[in-house]
C-alpha cells in the first residue's frame, strides 16, 4: 500500500512538472517489465493476432495464467507489475482469478508466453433494452435473455447522447435501448455496470 502511495506521489509530482526533466539514459531495466524489450510482432494475414489472447482462466501459477480460448487454443499469459488490469475498474493483478473471462493484449515471447500489457477481465459490451429499474440496478433484456445489471456506487456512470459520462443515472428510461460496458459475474446472468451509453 505504501509503495502505491509512494508511486502515486512520484507520478503526481512528475505530471504537474514539479520534478526536473532528464534526458533518457542508457540504463536498462532489471524488472520483469524487461519482457517488453521484445517488440510486438506484426500478425500474418489471415492468422490469429499473436499479440492477443482471449478465453477463460483455467489455472494460475503466481503471475502466470493458463487460459483456454473459446476456439480451443491454450494460452499462457504472464502478468507483470506494469500490466494494466481492468475488472470493472482498473485494479491489481491479484484480481485475475480462475473462472474469469479474459482479453489480453501484449507481446508474444519466443517461449510462447504472452507478456500481457493490458488485461480486461469479464468485460462485456452489450446492446440491451432496459426492462425495469430498481434501486440496486437494471433489469436488462439482451435479445430475449434476461440480465441483471448491478449499479456500483462510485463506478457506474452514464453517458447521455454522446456527452461526457456522469454518475447521475436518473435520466435512464424503461423500454429504451442502451449500450452497456460492464463486468460479467462468472457463472451468473448478472453484470456489474461500468458505463451505460444512452440516447434520450
Amino acid at each position: 500500500m505504501t509503495s502505491t502511495m509512494d508511486r502515486r506521489a512520484l507520478l503526481t509530482r512528475a505530471a504537474l512538472g514539479a520534478t526536473g526533466l532528464v534526458a533518457a539514459s542508457a540504463m536498462g531495466s532489471l524488472a520483469p517489465e524487461a519482457a517488453f524489450a521484445t517488440s510486438a510482432q506484426a500478425p500474418d494475414p489471415g492468422a490469429p493476432d499473436p499479440n492477443f489472447a482471449e478465453g477463460l482462466i483455467t489455472g494460475r501459477n503466481q503471475d502466470l495464467l493458463q487460459v483456454k480460448g473459446s476456439d480451443g487454443r491454450l494460452h499462457k499469459i504472464q502478468l507483470t507489475g506494469v500490466t494494466s488490469i481492468w475488472k470493472l475498474r482498473p485494479t491489481t493483478i491479484d484480481q485475475a482469478m480462475i473462472g474469469d473471462g479474459l482479453y489480453a493484449r501484449g507481446v508474444k515471447l519466443p517461449n510462447g508466453v504472452l507478456a500481457a500489457e493490458s488485461v480486461w477481465l469479464n468485460i462485456v459490451n452489450l446492446d440491451v433494452m432496459i426492462n425495469s429499474i430498481s434501486r440496486t440496478g437494471l433489469n436488462l433484456d439482451h435479445f430475449g435473455q434476461k440480465i441483471f445489471g448491478h449499479v456500483q456506487e462510485g463506478v457506474t456512470a452514464a453517458a447521455y447522447n454522446g456527452t461526457p459520462a456522469i454518475s447521475d443515472l436518473s435520466l435512464l428510461k424503461v423500454g429504451r435501448h442502451v449500450q452497456v460496458i460492464g463486468a460479467w459475474r462468472p457463472g451468473t446472468s448478472e453484470i456489474d455496470i461500468a458505463t451505460i451509453y444512452a440516447a434520450n
Binding site: 539514459s25 531495466s29 482498473p90 500489457e117 435479445f143 449499479v151 454518475s167 424503461v174
Partner: protein
C-alpha cells in the same frame, strides 16, 4: 346454475384467444424458425407445421364461436391445450433458447408464463366440457371472462409492451429508483474521454502500451497512469487532468525505477 353458465361462456374466450394466436402464426410463418419446431419436426417441415397449427387454431376458433355448440369442439380445444403445454415443456427443456411462437413475433424464450397460459387454456376448455350450452346463452356469467382475459393477458409476454412497460415507465417517472446516484465524483469514463481528446495525449499516444493502470484524485486534479515505452525501455505515462476547465491536461513520461522524468511535452501543453 351459475356454474353452468360460467362453463358455457368459456368457448367465447377460448375462441377469441385461438383467433389471435392463429393470426400471429398465419401472418408471420417465418417465426417458425425461432421456435423448437425445426428440432421437433425437421428444418423443412417447421414452417408448414407452424402454418398448419395456425389453420387448426383458426378453424377451431370459428367452430367454438359459431353455433351449434358441440362437445367435440371443446374436447378438441382441451386436446390442443394439452398439446401446447407438452410442446412448451419440451421446448423449454430441449431447446431453451427457442421462442414460444405462440402468438406471432416474440424473440423471448419459452418461460413459465407461456406454459402457465397453455395450462390455463387447458383448464378453461376442461371447464367448458361440463356443459352443452352455447356461450350465447351464458348471460351475466360472460362478465367472468373479463377477469379470465386479464389473466391471459398477464401470462402473455407478447403483450407486455402494451401494459407492463407503460406501468413501469409511469412508476419510474413518478419516483426514479436511481435518483440518488448523482455525485460530484467524476467517472473514470469522463476522465478518459478528456485525456483522449487532449493535445497531451496526442503527444504521447505512440508511447502508450497499456490501458489505464491506475488512477487517483489529489486536490484539483485527477491522475491517470499508463504503461509506456520510451527510448527502448519501460516507463509510465501519467496524465494530470484538472477538475476545472481553466487548466489543460498535462502529461509526463516517468522512469519509475529511477524516479526520473524522461519526457514532458511542456510547450505543447502551454500552447493549448
Amino acid at each position: 346454475m351459475f356454474a353452468q353458465q360460467v362453463a358455457a361462456a368459456q368457448p367465447l374466450l377460448i375462441g377469441l384467444l385461438l383467433l389471435w394466436t392463429s393470426y400471429g402464426k398465419l401472418a408471420n410463418p417465418e417465426e417458425a424458425e425461432k421456435t423448437a419446431l425445426p428440432k421437433l419436426v425437421g428444418e423443412k417441415r417447421a414452417k408448414p407445421a407452424y402454418r398448419a397449427i395456425g389453420i387448426i387454431e383458426a378453424a377451431l376458433a370459428l367452430a367454438l364461436l359459431s353455433p351449434p355448440a358441440w362437445t367435440a369442439e371443446v374436447l378438441a380445444a382441451t386436446a390442443l391445450g394439452l398439446g401446447f403445454t407438452g410442446y412448451l415443456i419440451y421446448a423449454k427443456v430441449v431447446v431453451p433458447e427457442a421462442s414460444c411462437g405462440c402468438a406471432g413475433k416474440s424473440a423471448k424464450p419459452v418461460g413459465y408464463r407461456s406454459i402457465g397460459r397453455a395450462l390455463l387454456l387447458t383448464a378453461t376448455a376442461a371447464v367448458a366440457l361440463t356443459t352443452t350450452q352455447g356461450w350465447w346463452s351464458a348471460g351475466p356469467a360472460t362478465f367472468i371472462l373479463i377477469a379470465e382475459a386479464a389473466a391471459f393477458i398477464a401470462l402473455s409476454p407478447e403483450l407486455d409492451r402494451y401494459w407492463l412497460l407503460p406501468l413501469r415507465r409511469l412508476r419510474v417517472r413518478l419516483s426514479h429508483p436511481l435518483a440518488g446516484t448523482a455525485s460530484t465524483t467524476v467517472p473514470l469514463a469522463a476522465t478518459e474521454r478528456r485525456v483522449i481528446l487532449s493535445p497531451a495525449y496526442r503527444a504521447v499516444t505512440g508511447l502508450l502500451r497499456s490501458d489505464v493502470r491506475d488512477y487517483w484524485d489529489e486536490e484539483d486534479w485527477r491522475f491517470v497512469s499508463y504503461t509506456a515505452r520510451y527510448d527502448g525501455r519501460s516507463a509510465t505515462a501519467v496524465f494530470a487532468v484538472p477538475h476545472s476547465d481553466s487548466e489543460s491536461v498535462r502529461v509526463a513520461v516517468v522512469d519509475e525505477t529511477s524516479g526520473q522524468t524522461l519526457y514532458r511535452p511542456a510547450l505543447l501543453s502551454m500552447a493549448s
